[in-house]
């Protein structure tokens, strides 16, 4: 049985923890709102880009000279996995769910005899994946010092990916991130970015207009495809950011509630023990008086 003093100390420490988790929850809530706004602001650009590209690629579908980014290398031997995670922990299952998805995917590919290369974006993913896939990680990007994610950061990642692709280092690139569904639900998602894939419905929608191209259709396509890679990555990073704060907020909310429960339980046993001690002292006094 812990002594009264021990219990008192434990209550104080749990209270301090609760204060921290509560503060973290509020910080996450504020950041979540900003991250969500940023993700929404980026949406129109990405949507229009996809629409235009879908139309262009539909028109170029049968073209044997279409850019490699669209048609692919024709092989699927070497896979590149771009795994985007958070920079920090304390966000519930956020990082681990993305990593699990990426790891399962990588193991499946390895079992099929394919080569797997990994680029990690974010410190957490790098730390964990390095344990299992030390030799597969080709690059590591971190945005630790960056406060506000901008397009420049996504462009930096895209540059690395495109440089590898142009050097023939891989055939298919897949991006792993957490899609932001709501504050309480973030879904780890894998999406293929190279070669580019488009919805058939979007293509049918966009290709109905007869366009004049200036300069030629091919040149525009060649210009746009690398940009599209950057846009896709940017979008994933923003969604990831919003998801991270969502996950952190609910994780911290849970932690605060658990700390509250624990304080109640500890206070109860503290009070009980104090009562017991008072009773014990009374009995000692009374029995001492009776003995006289």
């Amino acid at each position: 049985m812990p002594s009264l003093k021990d219990l008192k100390n434990r209550i104080a420490s749990v209270k301090a923890t609760q204060k921290i988790t509560k503060a973290m929850k509020m910080v996450a809530a504020a950041k979540l709102r900003r991250a969500q706004e940023a993700a929404e602001a980026a949406r129109p650009y990405a949507e229009r880009m996809t629409k235009v590209l879908a139309g262009l690629s539909a028109a170029n579908a049968g073209n044997a000279e279409a850019p490699l980014l669209l048609s692919g290398t024709g092989k699927d031997q070497v896979h590149l996995l771009i795994v985007a995670t958070g920079e920090r922990g304390l966000a519930g299952g956020f990082n681990s769910s993305i990593i699990r998805l990426a790891r399962d995917h990588a193991l499946k590919l390895l079992a099929q005899g394919k080569t797997v290369k990994i680029i990690t974006v974010g410190r957490k993913g790098n730390d964990i994946l390095r344990r299992t896939f030390k030799d597969n990680i080709v690059d590591y990007v971190t945005f630790r010092e960056i406060k506000q994610l901008g397009f420049a950061q996504a462009d930096e990642v895209a540059h690395k990916v495109l440089a590898l692709y142009n050097a023939g280092e891989f055939d298919i690139a897949t991006l792993f991130y957490a899609r932001f569904q709501s504050v309480i639900s973030q879904v780890a998602t894998a999406s293929q970015i190279i070669p580019a894939k488009f919805d058939a419905t979007q293509a049918a929608d966009a290709s109905s207009a007869l366009y004049e191209y200036e300069p030629s259709e091919e040149e525009i396509l060649e210009d746009l495809l690398p940009k599209n890679v950057a846009v896709q990555i940017f979008r994933a990073l923003l969604e990831n950011n919003a998801s991270f704060y969502g996950a952190q907020m609910s994780a911290m909310d849970n932690a605060t509630r658990n700390a509250g429960d624990m304080i109640n339980k500890l206070t109860l046993s503290y009070n009980r023990q104090r009562q017991a001690q008072i009773t014990k002292e009374l009995i000692e006094i009374i029995s001492g008086a009776e003995a006289l």
Binding site: R48, F151, E212, E214, P215, E219, I220
Partner: protein, 135 residues
């Protein structure tokens, strides 16, 4: 009064303009072009330059864009810029920084084709610098 149409200027970070306008001047790669209502459907790439927008109210606002492309339809025009700022907010320093980054990129360019492209970009930026910030 000229006919009005919808004009949207979007950068990856945000939607800058979405308004009824009567006239837009775009720095297309093959030369500047003015878009009015009922323009034939056109898709064109854009070089760094100034986009001047004439609102339906007659007011003219200017934006500086750094590359991108425009999707023009008879009913409207969408400009997807890689990066865009209102001309009034562009400072000499930010432009200078871009010029410097391009310069270093040229020094690191691997093949001639890439290098030529970057050099062209640099020339456009320098030209833009002269237009926006008359010394």
């Amino acid at each position: 009064m000229a006919e009005a149409f919808n004009f949207e200027l979007v950068s990856p970070e945000r939607l800058l303009v979405s308004e009824k306008v009567t006239e837009v001047v775009i720095p297309a790669t093959l030369g500047e072009m003015t878009v009015l209502a009922n323009h034939a459907p056109t898709m064109t790439t854009i070089k760094p330059g100034v986009v001047s927008v004439k609102l339906a109210s007659g007011q003219v606002t200017k934006y500086v864009v750094f590359g991108g492309f425009a999707d023009i339809l008879p009913t409207g025009c969408t400009l997807l810029a890689e990066s865009a700022v209102p001309a009034s907010e562009l400072t000499h320093a930010t432009l200078q920084k871009r010029i410097e980054t391009t310069q270093t990129e040229i020094n690191h360019a691997q093949n001639d084709e890439h290098k030529t492209k970057l050099e062209q970009f640099l020339a456009e930026l320098t030209h833009l610098n002269g237009v926006v910030n008359p010394a």
